[in-house]
Amino acid sequence: MDQYIDIKVRVWRQAGPKAQGHFETYELKHVFQGASFLEMIDILNEQLVAEHKDPVTYDHDCREGICGMCSMYVNGHPHGPDSAITTCQLHMRKFKDGETITVEPWRSRAFPVIKDLMVDRGAYDKIMQAGGFVSVNTGGVPDANAIPIPKPVADEAMDAASCIGCGACAAACKNGSAMLFVSAKVSQLALLPQGKVEAAARAKAMVAKMDELGFGNCTNTGACAAECPKSVSLANIARLNREFLCAKFQD
């Protein structure tokens, strides 16, 4: 059963992108374990506002694990110690009475800190703009059932497409690589007949943009897939490599 616990929260505070950051520790008493982790931060912020202090800035929105907005390291793990969830789905029942919880922003050169726990993930959007789409305009497309797609293929594409673009993969990677993110989109579209046409060009364009934006290389450590809140599979990276090689050979 959920209980009330007293905790200490050690939070990374950084006033701006160029400011020197530091850890600050706050005490929170009587936190219900049924509360979500972000609700715990809300409680902390209410306390800070009551003391006329600057509340902790952090990204969050849907609070049901799908928008990909929340982005924080909790006790050394992106999205915290539980598996296959986002920070908003993490609950305080995963923590013990008296525990000190360390909260940091995403650690990645490509995601600079804006303030406190909020980072700039614009790089992911830029990669998508380089090729993460099927080049069709609105209208004039064939009937949806015109091309049958085998169920296992559609299901595999769906699994790849479940990526929420949160950035945990790049943040978890010791090389700061965005390969899992890029490969998820490349896989989804390469698997489907609609996206197959541009598969090679897409892989090349997205990888080139990823490199340009300062993401590191992939050394297959698998940390990305282990920390991914949506359990996007490492197999996608293999598929990306295949598409990328095909594209290179075609050149």
Binding site: D42, E46, T57, C67, M128, S135, G139, P142, P148
Partner: protein, 720 residues
């Protein structure tokens, strides 16, 4: 070889056709004349009592005859229902490619409606400026829609058709939507599915490789397309990818972490004010910036967060709607809010939002409470679990009350039925505010694996939040605010009552009447953005090709910016004692208690008083830390709350004036002996549009009568 008879016959046919056409024209002229006469009469009626009308307090416009919006004002095309949209498209004005390049369009919002509109307009050649409050357009709250999207494909061969989708939608909306709009929605629904598949949206498929469907509330056919329990995500990512492609091409300039704070109006040569730009705050730097465009499109979503606790995302807000409203756009049917029956019950005061469990769960889940009050008491005390109650002691109340639709009745009906049981003391959790959603039958019938495959991610989500395994013990659910059918009034072209200002998606009022059916929000958002607005906006823009790009140094921009800055300064200067959230929570409780699932005249009057008190408290006692000209979440929340308070009041005023029960609006005074909603078609068959008359001044009611030309109105019946 044509013989004489044939020639004669053909000649006859031509003659008859000509005569028919002449008669038609004559008839139309007569119709027009009659309409003009009618208009003149109405104008007289509207004018005359106005002069002597006493200033009413809480209910303006109650004593005098309200102004009326005619089908002509709403630009509803002529002709039979199924030809209206075709006729419109055949005769609307278009903008040629060279001129499209010279026209700028601002799109506010990147949800299904905003992103699809921005992408489609850019593909056509317009220059688009697109704004969102999140750090990426992919995070708009459409992403959280779970269940699916409706379309009239009839792939299942179960008798579906455009007409049937139209009929279900208009009936589901309790006959409070416009026929022409709803028919168009049903018509373009099929294009949406084609479009999404072409974009690479991985919809669920059957083993034969064709698309799969499921059933949703309010329909007797399977017409809902889905992608696991993440349909909204996949559709939004489809629109986002189309948008990203245009951003990459430089046709869309994307502004992330920007929030619109006002619309800039500039008068044309005839003195008519037109929307020509926006004032927006850069949420990272706190800087107020100005943007020009030839037209402004707002797709900012709904205002459900007025209730603080809702299924909406934390940043979802109604401020864009209020900015439009203050510039003269009518706010239509604000009281129509949807309470979704299947949400995870509230568990504490610290709670920040409510989580929805997809309606698709009602395909296989059965809703029940105990038959015996003593069993309910044991459940509330935590002494027994749902699974301990034997089959014969369970009351599957939806199946009992509505045999024809059972667990798949529309949302408003299911929500009220849950409230009715809980009010009688049959609630199943510690607060007494929950009912069971049970999958044990489905698990027995289909096996655990099949159930897991269909609903696995939802079950996982439930377990993470509640810490209980829904495969073993029935889920607990309770209604929560989910969607707002009301919104900014738009005509058939999706233009508001302000020239050059368009409103799409949940933010407008157009297609769902008093209640939205499941899987229809995604359909409407994408219909507006992909297939309706990109056409209709050209009918406006075609007349703007001679308008040059304007400088944002114009006095109208400067004044708008100054007003925004003053409002911010005023808020920052209050330096009171209360946090924004604490006041918002208080507002939410008032909304739930007085403007929630069961409304009464007395309660609403009380609610309005309490909301007025909250407004005073907010403007004298809120505390916002930090600086205005920097990243400041508390200031963002305060600006939104200031508008939520106004919306809350408008909802209450509208609910009080609408003396009937329809769809999501349930007035306890108007119900059948069985507790079903009782419409008052003779008095309230109209869209209630509220016109802003100034700060702290009662809004004026304007009516758009809903004359059902093509569909017979019935009392909704889901029993047989």
């Amino acid at each position: 070889m044509a013989n004489k008879e044939e020639i004669l016959d053909a000649a006859k046919k031509v003659a008859v056709k000509a005569a028919e056409a002449a008669l038609d024209v004559a008839g139309k002229v007569l119709d027009k004349a009659a309409e003009a006469l009618e208009d003149a009469k109405e104008a007289q009626q509207a004018e005359a009592p106005k002069a002597e009308a006493p200033k009413a307090e809480a209910k303006p416009a109650a004593k005098k005859e309200a102004k009326v919006i005619t089908p002509k004002d709403a630009k509803i095309p002529e002709g039979p229902l199924e030809l209206k949209w075709t006729n419109y498209k055949n005769h609307q004005k278009l903008v040629n490619p060279a001129n499209k390049r010279r026209l700028d369009v601002i799109v506010v919002g990147t949800g299904l409606a905003g992103a699809s509109a921005a992408a489609s307009l850019a593909e056509m050649g317009f220059n688009v400026l697109n704004f969102c409050i999140q750090d990426s357009p992919r995070r708009a709250h459409s992403i959280a829609a779970q269940g699916g999207i409706n379309a009239a494909k009839n792939y299942q061969n179960d008798g579906d058709s455009v007409y049937r989708l139209y009929y279900d939608t208009i009936k589901g909306g309790d006959y409070r939507a416009r026929e022409a709009n709803v028919y168009r929605l049903a018509e373009v629904s099929n294009n949406i599915i084609d479009q999404c598949v072409a974009q690479g949206v991985p919809f669920a498929r059957e083993y034969g490789g064709l698309l799969d469907n499921r059933s949703f509330g309010g329909a007797q056919v399977s017409r809902t397309f889905y992608a696991k329990g993440q349909t909204g995500q996949q559709l939004l990512l489809g629109a986002y990818s189309a948008l990203s492609r245009q951003i990459g091409k430089g046709k869309v300039k994307m502004y992330t972490r920007y929030e619109m704070l006002d619309i800039v109006m500039i008068a044309d040569e005839n003195g008519e004010k037109r929307a020509r730009g926006i004032i927006a705050r850069n949420l990272v730097t706190g800087r107020i910036e100005r943007f020009f465009a030839h037209a402004v499109v707002v797709g900012s979503g709904g205002y459900g967060n007025t209730f603080f606790l809702s299924t909406n995302a934390m940043a979802s807000n109604g401020s864009a709607a209020m900015q439009m409203y203050r510039h003269g756009a009518y706010f239509a049917n604000p009281c129509y809010a949807q309470i979704h029956p299947t949400c995870i019950p509230k568990h504490g005061d610290f709670q920040s939002k409510l989580t929805l469990m997809s309606e698709s769960l009602r395909n296989d889940g059965r809703i029940w409470v105990p038959k015996k009050l003593e069993d309910a008491k044991l459940l509330q005390a935590g002494k027994i679990k749902g699974r301990d109650i034997p089959e014969e002691d369970r009351d599957y109340y939806l199946e009992r009350r509505y045999p024809a639709f059972g667990n798949l009745v529309p949302r408003d009906v299911a929500s009220r039925a849950a409230k009715e049981r809980c009010d009688k003391g049959y609630g199943v959790n510690n607060t007494g505010l929950a009912v069971f959603l049970d999958f044990s039958d489905a698990i027995q019938r289909l096996g655990k694996d099949v159930v897991a495959q269909k609903y696995g991610n939802l079950f996982q989500m439930y377990e993470k939040i509640v810490d209980e395994n829904p495969y073993e013990n029935p889920m607990m659910i309770f209604p929560a605010i989910h969607y707002t059918m009301g919104g900014i009034w738009v005509d058939y072209e999706l233009q508001t009552s302000v020239k050059g200002l368009f409103c799409i998606g949940e933010a407008n009022f157009s297609d769902h009447g008093a209640n939205r059916l499941g899987a229809s929000a995604l359909m409407q958002g994408l219909a507006d953005g992909y297939f309706v607005l990109p056409y209709t906006i050209q009918n406006y823009l075609a007349d703007q090709i001679g308008v040059p790009r304007m400088s944002t140094d114009l006095p109208e921009f400067a004044e708008a910016e100054k007003a925004v800055q003053e409002k911010i300064n005023k808020l920052m200067a209050i330096q009171g004692k209360r946090s924004v959230d604490s006041i918002h929570k208080e507002l939410g409780l008032i909304m739930w208690d007085f403007v929630g699932m069961g409304r009464t005249a007395e309660g609403l009057k009380e609610g309005i008083k309490k909301i007025d008190a909250i407004k005073k408290e907010f403007w004298t006692n809120v505390y916002i830390p930090g600086e205005a000209n920097s990243l400041n979440n508390e200031l963002e929340k305060a600006l939104r709350l200031a508008d939520f308070i106004e919306i809350g009041r408008l909802m209450a005023v509208d609910a009080l004036h609408r003396e009937e029960s329809c769809g999501g609006h349930f007035r306890e005074e108007y119900q059948t002996p069985e507790g079903e909603a009782l419409r008052q078609d003779d008095k309230f068959s109209y869209v209630g549009c509220w016109k802003y008359t100034g700060e702290d001044s009662e809004p004026e009611l304007i009516k758009e009568p809903l004359d059902y030309e093509f569909t017979e109105r019935k009392t909704r019946n889901y029993k047989n």
